[in-house]
Symmetry: C2
Amino acid sequence: MGSETTLQDTGEFPLIDRLTAGLADDDRVLVGPGDDAALLAAPGGSVVVTCDVLIEGQHFRRDWSTAIDIGRKAAAASLADVAAMGATATGLVVGFAGPPDLPTAWAVECTAGLREEAATVGAALIGGDVVQAPQIVLSITALGDLGGRAPVLRSGARPGDIVAVAGRLGWSAAGLALLSRGFRSPKVLVDAHRFPEPPYSAGPAAADAGATSMIDVSDGLVADARHLAEASGVVLRMVTDGWEVPEQMQAAAAAYNTDALEWMLTGGEDHALLATFPAGSALPEGFREIGSVEAGQPAVVVDDVVREADGGFRHFA
Amino acid sequence: MGSETTLQDTGEFPLIDRLTAGLADDDRVLVGPGDDAALLAAPGGSVVVTCDVLIEGQHFRRDWSTAIDIGRKAAAASLADVAAMGATATGLVVGFAGPPDLPTAWAVECTAGLREEAATVGAALIGGDVVQAPQIVLSITALGDLGGRAPVLRSGARPGDIVAVAGRLGWSAAGLALLSRGFRSPKVLVDAHRFPEPPYSAGPAAADAGATSMIDVSDGLVADARHLAEASGVVLRMVTDGWEVPEQMQAAAAAYNTDALEWMLTGGEDHALLATFPAGSALPEGFREIGSVEAGQPAVVVDDVVREADGGFRHFA
């Protein structure tokens, strides 16, 4: 309409005021937005930190997702990385870039999405930066606290361990397939692509249950299993027999002449947690056993087939 | 020549390996790059965190600065924010985006610049993300430790305090004026625009000396003084009498019929530290007295003139 208020109309400092308005009080946020830097409590004497950058056109499209959804998705990517260390996220720092003609409401809603997603794990928006760029860029740094736990690395899987996963597999890929073909339903799959629902609490729970290794499934189960196999120097053998394929995914796959199982094995962005546990472990709530760790040259074997191509997303590919 | 190796040739994961290769051992980096997240010691039980986003074309130009310079400049912006809290930077997390045809060497050199600048304060590169974008985006999150000090905020200046500054003023603006007109000398000014030399150690020193407030001068002395005046609810009165104007800046200003003092008052990106100290304080090394704090409606007064327009850079303006 041309009458919508844009970033250019609002200006840098009023925009920052709007994006940081009404931040909830949080005992851990010792200094919040508005100073040169924020100050966050790190009661355990260490801080988990991870960063994800999302670029408009590469990682999201404004015509497929609302600003709130994009904010939630951006936050989820980093928050899931914190969970994959066995930690609980405590704070988010957000670099936001956008064009001058971006509606201010878009930036405000995207930030609301970031804050909503952070709030699901009890984390707060503690600071950031706002600059101008030709397209929207979201750079999300999440910080977390281990609460006295040792970090769960990718490198600790040992032969004999159980392989287990928590959270959704393939839902986002199925949703993307639908959206790419112009469909907006089934809603549950399309929504799963718009923003994931990572099993955040399963991360610290896995650490408490003695997980030997863990990784956030952002690129796809096989691709991330390979990262874990390589870091640990082991073979991850998985068996898909008995995997529950959601009915709506089954139907969508049939309609497109696709194998739903491939979505589950190679689809990214659901942010499931893949972990290994010592044999005989009682798996924590949310985890299901999907295989075992073996000695050997690092590889991922699914139903007795070594997976060479993994379908994981590659930048610059 | 078309034969230079690009990000597209190198690919995401080999690129990450190159950018993180040879990171120095650091006792504070408990988990470095390569896992879902990094883990950094926070011995004081809290962590200072700040983020700056730099966009090619907005914040830097590849034809004016080398990749190393741009890396140093990007790191400096965040490291100076940490210093302005009275803290010492401990780690950098870097979101790097670039086009597929960007020479891999550029990304490697830029990261070397980030690491070099971080090393000047003893901080380490601890993690990051690498993605594709139409132009280069650098999102730098710096973390720091207060070493038991209380954070020095923008809001603590009180009437009667001394106003003091550490570090360069106007050098970067003078260098930018030269570059904009096609000149590459005087080198000292042009280099000051290519990358700043913030007085990092003056930050913790100011905190130790009892500084009541502090801010990183990134937008310009008057603009940032106003931020401090507003946060503290005071008037900052400055007197330029006796300010040392570097000879080469004097000459450049004369050549362009410009007042060098205006560069010093309104030029950004030198990352000086502006601080206030209780009356009678012995100023720590590196600080020079430039004025005093008075009661009144927040304002900045320079040589008895209230500065309304501040010349500070505004995104979306």
